[in-house]
């Protein structure tokens, strides 16, 4: 049919009576049928998203609903743990207990103080790194970018272990290095442990943040820099007054991700705990406390209530940060 179609369009030809009739009927089919055909098409297309929708509902939506449900019940085993355990509805008791739990809030406070230092430092170092990389010649930048990205490619657990060894007085060179400077540093002491963790988190995070910021810098039109240079602006001035405002959106995003991740810190202190259990207690961070409550103590309901409180705190922190950054703009 498609081969004969051009023939029918030619003016003056009266041949192909059958094909000439077949085409118009196809085009002039009632609009309702065409509509239904489109709907079928869209339905079939929509069905491609069903496996995801079903799995997402089961593994993401159901757990959140369960979290809200679990947190209003409590489970008490009768007898010596062999008897039937009794589940009772306690309303907001678990949540109230979580909100009033001093151990939880001291963990929260610890992580909050840590975050308030580590998040800005990470952003500043990453931004500085991206700016320096952007100022370098393209060929040099490409070479250094790989080196600067290497930590990002290292699994977080391996990164933590490597730094634990570097800090360790037995095998690590860092203790000897500071010894040469006349400093006796115990990286695992109570005062230092957050600095030690912060340093390794910084080490692992700056590559990723730099990549995003560097990508944003690359999309700044270079004519602007030239214009600024012609006007006599120094490189530092250009970086501060043009480049930084341009990557602001990316900076807000990386900071937000950084806040959300930092408040839930778990793996790094867990690994440090296996080296210095006396400094890093089992309830050292909120997530560690949740893990401990759920899987060591076995109080699933209370652990869930704590998770809900932590989620609220993370949400509030993100919202406050977002509002704050939006207000300074306007």
């Amino acid at each position: 049919m498609s081969a004969t179609a051009p023939v029918t369009r030619q003016p003056g030809t009266r041949t192909d009576e059958p094909t000439g009739r077949a085409r118009p009927t196809g085009l002039a089919s009632p609009p309702r049928r065409r509509l239904r055909w489109r709907t079928m098409q869209n339905l079939k297309g929509a069905s491609l998203s069903f496996p995801f929708a079903a799995g997402f509902a089961l593994f993401a939506v159901v757990p959140i609903l369960m979290a809200l449900r679990e947190s209003v019940y409590t489970q008490k085993s009768s007898g010596l743990g062999f008897g039937e355990s009794v589940v009772t509805f306690v309303g907001l008791d678990n949540l109230a207990r979580a909100v009033g739990d001093g151990v939880f809030w001291s963990a929260m406070w610890r992580v909050f103080l840590y975050a308030i230092v580590v998040v800005p430092v990470t952003q500043i170092v990453s931004l500085g790194m991206a700016l320096v990389l952007d100022a370098a010649r393209r060929r040099i930048a490409a070479r250094f970018r790989i080196a600067l990205l290497l930590p990002y490619m290292v699994p977080g657990i391996v990164a933590t272990m490597v730094w634990i060894f570097l800090y360790s007085p037995a095998v690590g060179p860092l203790g000897k290095f500071f010894g040469l400077l006349g400093l006796d540093v115990d990286f695992f002491s109570g005062d230092m442990v957050w600095v030690s963790i912060g340093n390794l988190v910084l080490w692992g995070a700056i590559g990723f943040n730099m990549l995003i910021l560097y990508g944003a810098l690359q999309s700044v039109p270079h004519e602007i820099f030239e214009a600024a240079r012609l006007d006599g602006a120094s490189e530092v001035r250009i970086a501060w007054s043009i480049k930084v405002p341009f990557v602001r959106a990316s900076l807000v995003l990386t900071t937000l991700l950084s806040i959300i991740g930092t408040l839930q810190i778990f793996a790094e202190p867990m690994l440090f705990r296996s080296v210095t259990p006396e400094t890093i207690t089992k309830d050292f961070t909120p997530t560690m406390m949740i893990y401990n409550q759920a899987f060591q103590v076995g109080d699933i309901n209370y652990a869930t209530a704590l998770s809900v409180v932590l989620a609220v705190v993370v949400g509030v922190a993100s919202a406050v940060f977002y509002r704050f950054t939006n207000r300074t703009e306007s």
């Binding site: 491609l48 290292v154 391996v158 095998v171 990508g215 240079r229 893990y291 869930t304 993370v314």
Partner: protein, 307 residues
């Protein structure tokens, strides 16, 4: 994306050669010194970034005694092969088992996830249907949910489903990644032209045939990106297997290394050397993969953050 941009700027710059020459003369003095400052800072940063990995490589070539007695940043004897042999034979060769588990969990999980995410992202990008907005809403909302909130209820759910301490706990829940669907949707919008789908329809292809025969092939780059990011993520996962896997023979490599670190130097066999060599062995595949497939994950990171 990044490879296109410099090209265009270079072209526009070449068009204004005269003005540029002027500008260059004016800043020549500044760049002379500042170039060295830039280079110096870059060298320092690169040293900070690479130093710990250098130590890891050096330390894994050392015998146990030299590990404690020699300079950490330079080689002593070359004991790497012996260390590797010790690593892969310790505890009935459980390290090889852990590596295999990691490959299995990350590979199967990421493969399934990639197909599911590509299909869903394609549907969201290319079709109009009821529930589409709702799905997008859920996807965006899930970005804001902290992972910790999901941990304990997921434990209850998977235990009820009989998946606790099975391979399924490691593979199934990760297959439905909203971030990957989001990436797939962004890619599909750009990579699959609607005209091409219409042409395929006129040729009589059904919607499924169009997806599996044509659109999937157009989304290969997206698929590689999504697969890679997820593969690396599951290779590095720690908390999930810690909660869901009891038996050591089911552990992925990160959890196994953690268990060795926990044992520390308290046992008669000093496992420090094993942990160091094991760390190196489990990192090398990631570094090779990431460097080889740079253009994929870099575009993924950029899209995920800028859109």
């Amino acid at each position: 994306m990044t490879s296109v941009l410099p090209e265009t700027t270079r072209l526009s710059v070449r068009g204004r050669a005269a003005r540029r020459a002027n500008a260059e003369r004016e800043i020549a003095a500044a760049t002379g010194t500042s170039r060295w400052v830039v280079l110096g800072v870059l060298v320092l940063l690169a040293g900070y970034a690479v130093g710990p990995l250098w130590w890891l490589v050096v330390a894994s070539t050392k015998s146990k005694q030299h590990l404690y007695t020699t300079n950490g940043l330079w080689f002593a004897d070359f004991n790497l092969w012996h260390n590797l042999q010790a690593l892969f034979t310790y505890q009935n060769a459980i390290f090889g088992r852990w590596l295999w588990n990691t490959v299995l969990y990350s590979g199967l999980g990421s493969l399934g996830m990639t197909i599911i995410a590509l299909a869903a992202g394609y549907a969201l990008a290319k079709y109009q249907y009821r529930g589409r907005g709702l799905t997008m809403g859920f996807i965006i909302a899930s970005f804001l949910i902290p992972g910790t909130l999901m941990l304990v209820p997921s434990f209850v759910l998977l235990t009820n489903l009989g998946m606790y301490d099975t391979i399924w706990a490691m593979i199934l829940p990760g297959m439905f990644s909203s971030f990957s669907v989001y990436l797939a949707k962004v890619y599909a919008e750009g990579a699959v032209p609607t005209e091409l789908m219409e042409a395929a329809r006129i040729d009589g292809a059904g919607e499924y045939r169009i997806f599996f025969g044509m659109s999937l092939r157009l989304m290969t780059t997206a698929g590689a990106t999504i697969f890679l990011l997820h593969f690396v993520g599951s290779w590095n996962t720690f908390m999930w297997p810690l909660v869901f896997l009891k038996g050591a023979e089911k552990w992925p490599v990160m959890l196994g290394l953690y268990s060795w670190l926990q044992r520390g130097v308290s046992t008669e066999v000093d496992v420090t050397s094993l942990v160091i060599t094991g760390s190196l062995v489990s990192t090398i595949p990631m570094v090779i993969l990431m460097i080889a497939m740079q253009r994929y994950w870099r575009s993924g990171v950029t899209i995920g953050s800028l859109k």
